[in-house]
Symmetry: C2
């Protein structure tokens, strides 16, 4: 089956789309928003280890590419809500499936790493 793009081609914009959606922060942010719209502070608390700078940059790239909508309610204190767009809804189940795969299979990956490091003399 032919698709409009080809992620294996460096000249195709499909590669850029893959680069955007394949980072771990996107894999955490978009599935978090699948639970409902969230504010910056809620995302910061939900996604342990993300810095404010990286969260802001990632949200801006997602908004720029139409995957997240940002609604500023203009209240005091400021209330900005982030939510998934329609096109992101078609992506988020696949990202969530990757998260679930990691949550189920990490012990096997950990065990393989320990074995590899023992056999190859690294710690």
């Amino acid at each position: 089956m032919a698709y409009p793009g080809n992620v294996y081609s460096v000249k195709c914009s499909a590669r850029d789309a893959l680069t955007l959606i394949s980072g771990k922060w996107v894999m955490l942010i978009l599935p978090a928003l699948a639970e409902g719209s969230m504010r910056n502070g809620e995302l910061m608390r939900k996604i342990e280890g993300i810095s404010q700078k990286v969260l802001t940059q990632t949200l801006r790239q997602l908004e720029r590419h139409g995957l997240v909508s940002r609604v500023d309610y203009g209240e005091k204190p400021a209330c900005v809500q982030y939510s998934l767009t329609r096109v992101a809804e078609s992506l988020v189940s696949t990202l969530a499936a990757l998260d679930r795969w990691a949550e189920i299979n990490f012990p096997e990956l950990d065990a393989a790493r320990v074995k590899y490091d023992q056999e190859n003399g690294s710690s």
Copy 2:
């Protein structure tokens, strides 16, 4: 439903597993190997834009965590084949689904970016 791990927790190894399997090069290498085992040179040709250094490092991390098996046939000229492990087989269809999503939806992301940049004064 509860899973053994939690990718949202920075202390959980599931986060490390997600870090390993996210990233565009893994999304390109593992689905390429789903077609059958490949040599280094075949992967270099298939995955446009990857450097030898990044390919080598990524394959080593995948091998270390039990997602790729490396078989050295010890011939002259050297013949080293990379292939998916059993655990990687359970992952690769999800990665391929992300690739297909990028190949189908990149025009919509591109259009959103053009519109955003026009509205926000960046080029």
